[in-house]
């Protein structure tokens, strides 16, 4: 038994390094997507202390809108722009209808409100787009769908080009976001608001504009995630499940940290794949991916209650 846990998995890894690399690559790609969703969470949490549960459904909603528009006969790139418009309208209406009346309420109330938004979007989306699985318009958007076959160590490693594209786009998005947050006026305003609401308000930063902006950026991130994930697994409400995956990523990385979200996402993506393949399937009957990330995050949190990169929690009486 101990041998199965401690030795056999590692022996397997060494025996088939190409398979190990394949597993790690798969993990990396899903990790990137977790990180993207977590990024949406972090942005909103930093600027408004709202734990936005609706980020996952925003991914689904964006992807569905895109595919739905394309099916109506709108050219692919025009649908992307129209989807962005829809996400902007969504951001404005969420701010106007839901958040503004709830300013200053306890965190848990705002959290519940985002769950309310989630339910609303699920119902709304299913009525408009139907519940069935849709195929993402990958090639129409100019994303290559071939795959590269590499042969490291005399083995076989398959890299799908759409995954590579997803990784590249995600990296660009993150870089762009970092530049935006650190170098532009708006970005600085977002960070200022995150640091101290009242101080930010008193120097003339508009809370409402920033909130709309932040939710819109979260919407853009949602669209990118939706395209990337939809290309892998199709677009349906089952995608919502990946939103839950972003939660342990947040815990691991810290609720306020963009770096944390990315590193946490990659770690969880790869570790959960490794665990599933080498420990979960042979020893535990598989499907461990549903909980592994949470348990991992829980263990890390026991040692660092604010996550790996979160702001240190200082409590005063």
């Amino acid at each position: 038994m101990l041998k199965d846990i401690l030795i056999t998995p590692f022996a397997d890894m060494i025996a088939a390094p190409d398979f190990l690399m394949q597993v790690l690559w798969e993990g990396l790609v899903s990790g990137i997507l977790y990180a993207l969703i977590a990024l949406g969470f972090v942005l909103i949490f930093r600027s408004s202390r709202i734990f936005n549960f609706a980020q996952g459904i925003m991914v689904v909603f964006a992807a569905l809108t895109l595919v739905g528009l394309y099916e109506l006969g709108v050219p692919a790139w025009v649908s992307v722009i129209l989807t962005l418009v829809v996400m902007f309208i969504l951001a404005v209406s969420i701010e106007k209808i839901v958040l503004r009346p709830l300013v200053g309420q306890p965190d848990i109330i705002l959290f519940m409100a985002t769950i309310g938004i989630t339910l609303f979007l699920i119902g709304f989306g299913e009525i408009i787009f139907g519940g069935e699985n849709k195929i993402m318009i990958t090639s129409e958007l100019g994303i290559p769908t071939d795959s590269w076959v590499l042969e490291p160590f005399g083995g076989l490693l398959i890299l799908e080009q759409k995954d590579v594209t997803a990784v590249a786009v995600a990296a660009m998005l993150v870089a762009g976001l970092l530049v935006f947050l650190n170098k532009t006026r708006m970005g600085r305003a977002i960070r200022a608001l995150g640091d101290d609401h009242q101080a930010a308000l008193s120097v003339g930063i508009s809370l409402q504009t920033i909130w709309v902006l932040v939710w819109f950026i979260a919407g853009i991130i949602a669209l990118v995630t939706g395209i990337a994930w939809g290309a892998r697994a199709g677009v349906s409400f089952a995608l919502e499940v990946i939103a839950y995956k972003a939660l342990p990523v947040l815990m691991l990385g810290g609720l306020e940290s963009i770096t944390g979200a990315i590193i946490g996402g990659l770690m969880i993506g790869m570790l959960e794949k490794l665990f599933e393949i080498y420990w979960g399937q042979p020893l535990l009957g598989g499907n461990t991916e549903t909980w592994f990330a949470f348990v991992l995050a829980l263990i890390v949190l026991l040692f660092r209650p604010q996550g790996l990169f979160g702001e240190k929690i200082i409590e005063r009486v």
Binding site: D107, I108, M112, L119, L121, G123, L284, T288, A297, P305
Partner: protein, 358 residues
């Protein structure tokens, strides 16, 4: 006029500390109890029992369990569904191992199993706070549901992977399983729910409840005045999980009749959380109000299109329901973030001084 408290003097401390110091409250409660115990069972149809009365009671109990943890002790939990599952599976194992066991005793005992698991998953709460803790409880949620699916011993190696409630007799009356009548099940549920409600009201008023409230309001301050945080948080997890576990056992044994692991998945947790929050955190009565709203609303909504003669597909109705429930949650949060219980408290306040505005 109706709610005037003038003239009701309390001449002893015992009277002042009574559960219902205001006479009108006691009368109102009597009326509600009379309805619940006598009038409803006499008049309700099979449909009402199965879609409204029984589920409302069970959901209120589950919400009350969660409310103890979240509303009174301030520890946000998203793992309610899984703890209900622990109660249900524990009850199932007890009933199948000892078939002659009294079902009510089995249901009450099954809460202890979920209490134990609840304490284990509550240990991180000593280090982790706020949303981090909420996500940590999701670990319990996903892990336990996975366990229900993979650990075949739990469902007696059924091919279906589901648990099926056998016929259970108590004093010669069938109370559970396919042969049981709704009215008997209703009374069993009502009895257990009433018992636990009285227990919870008293617990939250007593020493333990005050410790919980202090922990909720500011745990560092509570620690400084000499409250043992570990004891306070872990007892909250234990009591809360006990109540939730009993609710879970009732959920399967007195209502659903059968359960698959995914029944206890995260939507169930959220449903209970909605009830607790819409009803009002930190209130016992709120759970009932919340459950009436959240359980009753879809039932009402389902009958509306038929009643006004609209022909909508049932799938669309379901999606519309989700949408409406979502918007109502937001609506209620906006009009009264402290829940329906606060709304009632405000109404009561107004009634006391009515017809004068001040």
């Amino acid at each position: 006029m109706l709610y005037r408290t003038a003239g009701q003097f309390k001449t002893s401390y015992i009277k002042d500390q009574a559960l219902f110091p205001v006479r009108q409250d006691a009368i109102l409660l009597m009326i509600i109890l009379a309805f619940a115990w006598v009038i409803m069972p006499l008049t309700a149809s099979e449909f009402t029992f199965q879609t409204l009365l029984i589920p409302i009671l069970i959901y209120s109990l589950a919400a009350m369990g969660l409310n103890i943890l979240t509303g009174f002790a301030g520890q946000l939990s998203l793992g309610t569904g899984a703890f209900m599952g622990v109660g249900a599976y524990a009850c199932y194992k007890m009933i199948t191992i000892i078939p002659e066991m009294n079902p009510v005793v089995a249901i009450l005992l099954s809460g202890f199993f979920s209490a134990g698991i609840g304490v284990v998953f509550g240990i991180p709460s000593l280090r982790i706070k706020g949303f981090y803790l909420a996500i940590a409880t999701l670990a319990a949620q996903f892990f336990l549901v996975w366990l229900f699916e993979k650990w075949a011993w739990l469902y007696n190696y059924n091919a279906s992977g589901a648990i099926q409630v056998p016929n259970m007799d108590m004093f010669g009356i069938t109370v559970g399983g396919p042969r049981a009548e709704s009215i008997t099940q209703y009374y069993v549920v009502l009895a257990i729910v009433s018992l636990l409600t009285v227990l919870c009201i008293n617990l939250t008023r007593g020493n333990l409840g005050r410790t919980w409230k202090a922990t909720r309001d500011m745990d560092i301050a509570a620690e400084l005045i000499g409250i043992n945080l570990m004891k306070s948080k872990l007892t909250a997890f234990a009591v809360s999980s006990y109540v939730i576990g009993v609710a879970g056992a009732l959920f399967v044994f007195m209502w659903r009749g059968a359960a698959e692991p995914n029944l206890f998945d995260i939507p169930l947790s959220f449903r209970v959380l909605f009830i607790a929050i819409i009803g009002g955190l930190g209130s016992v009565m709120g759970n009932y109000l919340g459950a009436i709203l959240i359980v009753g609303l879809p039932v009402v909504l389902n009958t509306v299109p038929e009643a006004i003669g609209l022909d909508i597909k049932s799938a669309t109705v379901e999606h519309l329901n989700i949408m409406i429930v979502g918007s109502l949650i937001i609506f209620f949060l906006i009009i009264e973030p402290h829940g329906l219980a606060r709304l009632w408290a405000l109404i009561r306040e107004k009634l006391i001084i009515w017809p004068f505005p001040h």
